[in-house]
Structures are given as C-alpha cells and as structure tokens.
C-alpha cells in the first residue's frame, strides 16, 4: 500500500474522499479511526455506538498472557485499522511478478491459473469466472430465502438480525482481542438460514462477491434458524500472504432448535520463513451457541499456517440434547507455534461433545492442545469424549496437552484419551521400499494419523487438505 495519502487523511479526520482506491483510516486506535471505519462502511448510528462501547471497554482490558506462545509487543497505535482494497495499478500485473516459491506451492496443490492470480493478488479482468459463478449461486440461495452477504451489507440491509445476534455469543467485553475486533472489524460474512431450510451448497467466502481480500479484523456471524442446516467453509489451502501481521477475527455461530451448523476452516496464512522471520499472528475467537434443543455445531479445522496460531473454537451447549464437535489438525513446522483447542460448555440436559485433536510438530516448532470441558450442574446425563494425539517429527519440537475438566453433575461423564508418538523409521522404510520418497512417505503417514479429522471435511476441501498436510511438512524428515 502506498503511503502518500496518509498525511492528508490524518488531517482529514474521519471524512472520506471519493478516491476510494487509496483510502486508509487515520493511524492508530482511537475514537476517530473507529468513526472513520463506520462512516466508510456507511453504517447506521447504532452500529457506531456499539463499536465505541467496545472501544471504551477495551481501555480497561489487558492482552492475555497465559498462552504458551509469546509474541513481541504489538504497538496498537502503529497500525492502520482500515484500508480500502488495493487498486489495480498497485497489484502485480501478472504471475511473473509474484514470488516463484508461492507459485510452486500453488502448482503442487493443483490450483487453477485464475485462482492462482486471485490468491496472489494479481489484477484480474472484471469478467472473472468466479464472479459469474457467484451470481448463479446467489440466485439459488435467494430463492430459498438464505441471506449470504458481507457483514457490512448485513448491517445496512438486515439490521434486525444483526442487532439481535451480533455479540450474543462473543460479548463485547469478552477478552482483549475479541473486544478489539468488535471495535474495529472491517469485513467478514453474514449468513442467515431460514427455518427448515437445508442450504443446498457449501457456503464459502470464495463465492461472496467482493471478498477477494480478507481483512485483518474479520467478523463472521452465522445464524441457523429452527430446523435448518448449513455447511460453511473458511479459508483455502493455498498459502495466503498479508501485509498485516496481526489477525484477530471473531466468528459467532447461533444454532436454534433442531438446527445444525458445520464450520470448516483451512488456515494457511504465511508462517514466516525457515528461521522464523515474519509470519502472521492468528489470534482468533470462534464460538458457537447451540441455543435451541437438539441443535448441533461442528467445528473442523486444519491449521497449517501462521507464525502463531492461537484459537479455541468453542461450543456453548445451552439447548437440551444439543451436540458440539471439534475436529482439529494443527501442523507446526520450523519455528511455528500453535496453542489451540476448544471449550465445550455443557449447560443443557443430555448434551454431548466430542473432541478429536491431532497435533503434528516438526522442526523447532511448538504445538499445544488446550481444551476445557465444563459440565454445569444442570447438565444431567451429558457426555464428553476427548482424544488428543500428538505426532512428533525429529527431537527439537514440542507437543503439549493441557486438558481442563470440570464436571459438576454426577450423572455426566467425561472421557479423555491422549497419545504422543514419533514418526517411526520402520514405517518410513516400509513406504520407501514400496517406491515412495521421503516426502511422500511422511505425507502418507501423517495423513493416516489425521484421517479422522480429514474425513470431516467436505469432499473437495478434503482432497486439497490432504495435499496441504504433506506440503506443510516438506523437509521435516532428513
């Protein structure tokens, strides 16, 4: 992003200019920068008030420091909280101008040329395949009464839904990064599935028009009304670069009576180089409320990117007989660090939760599973099953399992199993003897190790994720 407009903009306070291509908010975190964002997004007053409330709360909050990965202090006054999409003139003209290593990875993943361009930020023609595809999809969704748009559009066009549900799962005051997001979020998705509707396709940000650039502070809100079903995909397997080091997204899911939400993530942000320089800090708050009876929320995540990944997609099982699931693969290589897991809060009767976590650590990386299972005193006959498996490659990496269990109801049960293993020379030799090279062998063995989780992904995602698992560990076995 070019810097020439900054001074004028700072002078300009929070107005906005017509030159949308080079707009940035004033630097730093302030009431002015928040007003600027709200104005840029053409938000109603209630939304601005909400943001400012969050901002005021933020002043009394401190960054958490209990997590395992430590990171250098972030100067929040040195960040920009809003910048308009890059103009075509600032983007690379063709793939020739893009880092060849990135292109190589795209090729390995089998990503089509057009898609490679989109991902690496190459300027593309206005008539771009996915746009027309997206339009067709959108028509089909509209017919069923499904709302799928950017969060900004939703704030303008569906204020009642947004007012009712935004912040209802992750309160304004939740914790530092969640509250920061509430004050300054700039992009994200909104989904509403009406009662008894089964969403006919996997929804992904990919098909949301104008969503080619993901923001630093994303906000996603998904509501599945009574008896509805939706499967939502976030991210993609291709490595994504971003100039912003800190990513603090908030994702809220609400499932009403008999509704089901399946949320799948493949996270492959830039992890930094082999020596641990650069890389994204991915500090995400994801939480789902099974608000209605018999509702279900299932999180599946494949985390391979970022320098630091720090997230606990959680389920609040309020409705009786509701079900929460968490399936996770976290791969850390070189100097990457991940501290991830889930929280299953059982409040309703006969609630069930299942946690399957597969952590793979290579190089000098560090991988922690941290999870809470909390069974409240009214959650009778509830069950949790947790399985945490760690796989180590080499002897410089680390794996840790930190389960917190609170069971306040004697009719409920919690089961926890954990294993730690090393990738085994005999297994590698066996694969090699059948003609596979070291990388193929590692990929095969690790994919086997992760199978239970990979199976949860929608088909087309699963195939890509399998390749990604292999590629993420390249060079990890000598």
């Amino acid at each position: 992003m070019k810097n020439q407009n900054i001074n004028t903009l700072e002078d300009y306070k929070y107005g906005f200019t017509t030159d949308i291509e080079s707009i940035r908010a004033p630097k730093g975190l302030s009431e002015n920068s928040i007003k600027f964002i709200s104005k840029m997004k053409k938000e109603p007053q209630w939304m601005l008030d909400w943001r400012l409330k969050a901002f005021n709360r933020l002043k009394n909050l401190k960054e958490p420091n209990w997590q395992k990965p430590k990171y250098p202090k972030i100067n929040y006054q040195d960040l920009y909280y809003y910048s308009a999409p890059k103009s075509a003139s600032e983007k690379p003209k063709s793939l020739d101008e893009v880092d060849p290593k990135l292109i190589e990875t795209y090729k390995k993943l089998g990503i089509p040329l057009n898609e490679q361009k989109r991902l690496s930020g190459v300027a593309v023609d206005a008539v771009f395949d996915s746009v027309s595809v997206a339009t067709t999809y959108k028509e089909e969704l509209t017919k069923k009464g499904i709302i799928f748009c950017s969060i900004s559009e939703a704030i303008r066009n569906h204020p009642d839904l947004v007012k009712k549900y935004l912040g209802s799962v992750i309160p304004l005051t939740d914790h530092y990064f969640a509250t920061l997001n509430s004050a300054v979020f700039t992009d994200g998705s909104f989904v509403y599935i009406p009662p008894k509707v089964r969403c006919p396709m996997e929804l992904s940000t990919y098909f949301r028009i104008n969503a080619s650039e993901t923001g630093q502070f994303e906000r996603t809100l998904i509501i599945a009304d009574k008896g509805s079903y939706v499967s939502y995909l976030e991210g993609c397997t291709a490595p994504m670069r971003d100039e912003n080091q800190l990513h603090a997204a908030n994702v809220e899911l609400v499932a009403l009576d008999d509704a089901e939400i399946k949320y799948s993530t493949v996270q492959n942000w830039y992890p930094g180089d082999k020596d641990g320089v650069g890389g994204i800090y991915n500090f995400v708050t994801k939480r789902g409320a099974c608000r209605g009876k018999n509702s279900k929320i299932s999180w599946t995540q494949v985390e391979t990117g970022s320098a630091i990944t720090w997230k606990y997609p959680s389920c609040i099982l309020q409705g009786d007989n509701s079900v929460g699931e968490f399936y996770s693969i976290a791969i850390t290589n070189n100097h990457q660090k991940a501290d991830t897991g889930t929280k299953m809060i059982h409040l309703g009767k006969n609630t069930k939760s299942k946690i399957i976590s597969k952590g793979i650590s290579a190089g000098q990386a560090d991988n922690t599973y941290r999870g809470l299972v909390d069974i409240g005193k009214n959650a009778s006959n509830s069950r949790n099953f947790t399985q945490c498996d760690s796989l180590l490659m080499g002897n410089k990496c680390g794996a840790h399992t930190v389960p917190y269990i609170k069971n306040k109801n004697s009719s409920s049960t919690v089961e926890h199993e954990a294993t730690t293993s090393k990738i085994n020379d005999e297994q590698l030799f066996y694969c090699n003897q059948r003609g596979m090279n070291q990388e193929e062998a590692v990929s095969l063995i690790v994919n086997g190790f992760c199978k239970e989780v990979l199976q949860q992904l929608p088909m087309e995602f699963a195939v890509e994720a399998q390749k990604l698992v292999g590629i993420s560990l390249e060079g990890s076995v000598g």
Binding site: D425, Q427, F429, N432, G435, E440, F449
Partner: protein
C-alpha cells in the same frame, strides 16, 4: 541380476555382515537359511537400501552399483522386500497405499498412472489368482492383521507391483498349511527367466514347494556353506551345529 562381493555391514558399531559373496543370475531362486541373529534380515535391509548401516563392498544390480541409490529408487528399479515383520500404518488404507506405490513404480518406468477403477480390477484379478481375500486391502495397512494376513498381504503386493528381484524374509514363518501354499503359489507364478528371488527361511517346508536353485547357510554374517536342495534337507535333520 545381483552380484554381491565382500559385503560388510555394521550398525551402532556392531559388525553384522562380515564379508559376504553371492551371485544371483536372472531366473534363479536362492534360499538363505541360518540361525537366529546370523544377519539374514540385515542382509535384506542392506539390499533394499535401509538407512543407518555402515556398508563396504559391492552390490551390483543389473550391472549398476546400488550402494549409493536410495531405497525408493531401488524399489522403483524392481527390488522388492517382503518384510519379516510388516509394519502397521494406522489410518492408511491398504488399497490407497498400494495404488500410490504401484503408480510410483509405473511412473518411474514411464508408464501411465492407473486410475482407481483399473487399479481395483488388477487387485481383484491378482487376489483371485492367489486365493487371497481382497477384503484385507480395504483395511488400514497391516493394522490388526493376523500374522498370516500380514504375510499374504506382502505377497499380494509383490504380485501387483511385479518386481524383478524379490527378497522374501521369512514369509513362510507362522503360516498354516493353506497359507503356505498360497505363498508358494505366489512365488512360483512369479518365476520366469528374467526374475530372481532371495528367499530367507528357516524351514525345508516352503522349499519343497518352490524348489530353490541354490541353498546358502548364513552364519555369523558369512555364507558358510552353499549347495542345492539337499542342503536344506540335511539342515532339517542335523541343525546348524555341524556346519560351523
């Protein structure tokens, strides 16, 4: 096919193979017998290129020195090892594993990779030919397989990959009579004048079915005696003590 000259191998500063010579011509089947711990599996590992050994001497395969060539390339060149203890790989479907393997071998020969349907057809054919229940192939690789199932799986893989030099490390140990015949059948149906075998065994039983051209006795890392089938018969009677 294979020429081994003055081969020595050690691991963790322990000498295991201590100067070994064997020449195996195309079409020949050589059997190796020998007491526990004499170095038979080590020889099989060294021939297939397993890492971790200090090696000296010569291993010529089809006129090329193998020593510097990594395991996977040797496999692609047609060297196959039926393991004494096939390892379990949880979560990996045996069919997928074998398909990946077959396509690697085919690719290295410049042949077209097979799609799943064609692959499964070959599997059906070969398992029927051997009388092996192909159902084991839809399970996780060797996980929960019985001893006999593991060995049959090795032979089925051998048939499907169609290698040119096959090492069988005690594939006949722990098998019931029918399974033993299955294994023997797998070997005999693969024999032709371009292919060779090195069959490690403790028992004359298997050799009765597969009729070796040569029998060698390996003891303390060296071939101490070579002969024909009559040597196996003698060993069965007298054991190894007299030979040393």
């Amino acid at each position: 096919m294979l020429e081994i000259k003055n081969l020595k191998a050690s691991i963790n500063s322990r000498d295991i193979i201590k100067g070994l010579d064997i020449t195996i011509k195309p079409g020949e089947l050589h059997a190796i017998m020998g007491p526990n711990g004499s170095g038979k599996s080590t020889l099989a590992n060294v021939l297939s290129g397993k890492n971790g050994y200090h090696i000296s001497g010569v291993i010529q395969y089809k006129g090329k020195n193998l020593i510097e060539i990594p395991v996977d390339e040797r496999a692609q060149k047609g060297i196959f090892l039926a393991f004494q203890y096939p390892t379990e790989i949880p979560g990996v479907n045996t069919n997928n594993f074998l398909k990946t393997s077959l396509n690697k071998v085919r690719k290295s020969k410049g042949e077209k990779e097979l799609d799943t349907l064609t692959f499964l057809k070959i599997v059906k054919e070969k398992s029927a030919e051997l009388g092996i229940d192909e159902k084991i192939l839809s399970r996780q690789l060797n996980v929960g397989f019985s001893g006999g199932e593991k060995k049959k799986n090795e032979i089925l893989q051998m048939k499907i990959l169609d290698p040119s030099f096959m090492i069988l490390d005690e594939t006949d140990s722990g098998l019931d009579i029918d399974a033993l015949k299955t294994i023997a059948n797998g070997v005999n149906s693969s024999r032709d004048k371009k292919k060779s075998f090195l069959v490690i065994t403790h028992y004359q039983r298997l050799l009765n079915y597969i009729k070796p051209d040569f029998v060698h006795v390996l003891s303390d890392g060296k071939i101490v005696k070579s002969g024909g089938m009559e040597l196996a018969v003698e060993l069965e009677k007298t054991g190894y003590k007299k030979i040393k």
